[in-house]
Symmetry: C3
Subunit: 266 residues, 3 copies
């Protein structure tokens, strides 16, 4: 028996909107610790890891560990029917091949239950070791989203270069080149507006903008984003989910085929 | 000679937006009582009845009963040119094959007149007898619109079931099932937020969601909607037009081909 | 060496949005006087003239007159990456085949530079003589935009007729006819809401609505528009750019093939 009651149901709606375009089908894993998901995107390039800790739920009952395979498009269709102020409860009976989403309006005048068929999905759970990163950039999530969107109007890839002074996002395409520099800046009125750089050594890595843009769909979940970079590791783009957990996106850097920086990257 | 002056011209704009997708061509009937329309939708499944009473007009002159055939798409194109605060006057000379819509801006600085060709439309006027209904549900129109929209993401038909406690909207489709229950609720701050159920006997009827969704285009006309249900009659979905009349949509229930409720309806 | 620093960078963004759909490629001419452009639309029917005077820039350095050929779609893609509060600097080195747009956020935390390739564009600069017009209409730019949009739902051309009392915009199409009269009105609370007619002799001219609608993309640049009409000259539709200059659109009137006004224009 599984019953998870989330007062701030809009969080779950936002989580689905963040990942449904990247991942088609995925197993949600439920244990005493929390409700989590780990999935590769459909082209097996990027990895998503979601965690919603059990403490973040108003009520959390999970008698035994289960893994529920869901089609994220269908799940998103159902969650879209929840109001933004609704309480969402996820329910599943032991051995059942369905999951139920219950939505309660704040006034309790409207109660909806949506039952969805579960799927069998083959998936291997990758262990993601804790790692040391050369540089960690924390910045406003809306700023990062804007930069990825702007650069994708010019080119296909972004070079992210971190120095002590700031982080530079660069691209080049048929119509020209673009460089956007965000300076370290901690003297802001609101902490979520700060750009903070924690660097051990300078790093410069290239990524596909298409994926970066997809990750920024999680911007609604958090005011800030943390980008962890290391030359030997996939980048981690992390959005914290207030008091509950996180969504993390992992993406391997592109290998530069040509060291000559003056030539255009294709 | 016909001359109808409507100070709140935006009402007529909203009326057209409510019905133009459902009905292509229709006769507007003008008499001493008011300005009215009755028309089947293009697939002859749903019926629309509109009444704007003469008292609701600032000036209402209709020397003799006339019926004016109009293409609603074209009429809508013209009414879209009226500002939301404009006064609209409908004018037609006896025997003329055109109608004129005059728009006056509140400051009288801008006066527009749009002349549209009338059409000959065959139509039979159905007498709609006053009827007794098993159950009448009055609820916020935006809530009803939201429910119809949400359910159409899951299935094609909606089962509306009324009991003393509340009204249940259900659907099922390939991806699962959905039930939304709105409880009777009269202790609200604003009367238009109440859900009021007036029931003689329980009723459960099935309707095509496509039509229900089309009817909810009238949501802009009224804060509340009244749904009148009876097992032998078409449902009536009524939107009152403040101090002037109403738009009513009639739709016959779908006959269940299979009594076995566990089987999906196709 | 060219370096033009525009504190209100959003002006340049709006200028590009105003003309990029009308003109594909154009030469921007830079001299001690200012930054200007003159270009025919791609079908060689309408002419655009832009002037941004040097005094309007915070810093204006132009060592020698140069003409920079730009693809306006690409330029617009780059300028879209500037924030609305950003300072924009246009830079070009002598003899360089690129131009650089630099965007500085108000807090100076984010500095972007976009480099775009220049093009060789054949163009002849037309001398546009100062002319006397039969009638000059000054009216709210949003009102003019609304009228052009509304009429294009009915017909393809607009007849603009000016008398001392007001200006009339008329069209006719398959579904009927439309006439919109804006009366001269100078007793308004805000001067930008006035409709002022300066007339030497009545004039009535026909124009393609498609172009008029395109011109109204400049509505964001100014609260008012000035329409200068003369039977022997192209109409001038002018939007002033506050304290800097203007955008002017020129369009030749359509010749009426038939003097009989009762016949429809095709």
């Amino acid at each position: 028996m599984l019953e998870l009651r989330l007062v701030q149901g809009s969080l779950l709606k936002k989580v689905l909107e963040s990942i449904k375009d990247l991942v088609n089908d995925a197993n949600f894993d439920c244990s005493a610790t929390g409700f989590s998901l780990q999935a590769m995107d459909s082209s097996h390039v990027a990895l998503v890891a979601l965690l919603l800790r059990s403490e973040g739920f108003e009520h959390y009952r999970c008698d035994r560990n289960i893994s529920m395979g869901m089609n994220l498009t269908n799940m998103s269709k159902m969650l879209k029917c929840a109001g933004n102020d609704d309480i969402i409860t996820i329910k599943a009976d032991d051995g059942s091949d369905t999951v139920t989403f219950m939505f309660e309006s704040p006034t309790q005048d409207k109660i909806s239950d949506f039952e969805m068929k579960l799927m069998d999905i083959d998936s291997e759970h990758l262990g993601i070791p804790e790692a040391e990163y050369h540089a960690i950039v924390k910045m406003p999530s809306s700023e990062f989203a804007r930069i990825c969107k702007d650069l994708s109007g010019i080119g296909d890839t972004v070079v992210i270069s971190v120095t002590k002074e700031g982080v530079k996002f660069s691209t080049r395409g048929d119509i020209g080149t673009a460089n956007i520099v965000c300076r370290q800046n901690t003297t802001v009125d609101k902490p979520e507006e700060a750009t903070v750089i924690d660097m051990n050594e300078p790093v410069s890595l290239t990524f596909a903008l298409r994926y970066m843009n997809s990750f920024t769909k999680a911007t609604t979940l958090s005011n800030t984003v943390t980008i962890s970079l290391s030359s030997e590791l996939p980048v981690v783009v992390e959005y914290k989910i207030a008091e509950m957990g996180y969504i993390r996106f992992y993406l391997a850097p592109k290998i530069e085929e040509d060291e000559d920086e003056t030539k255009p990257e294709v």
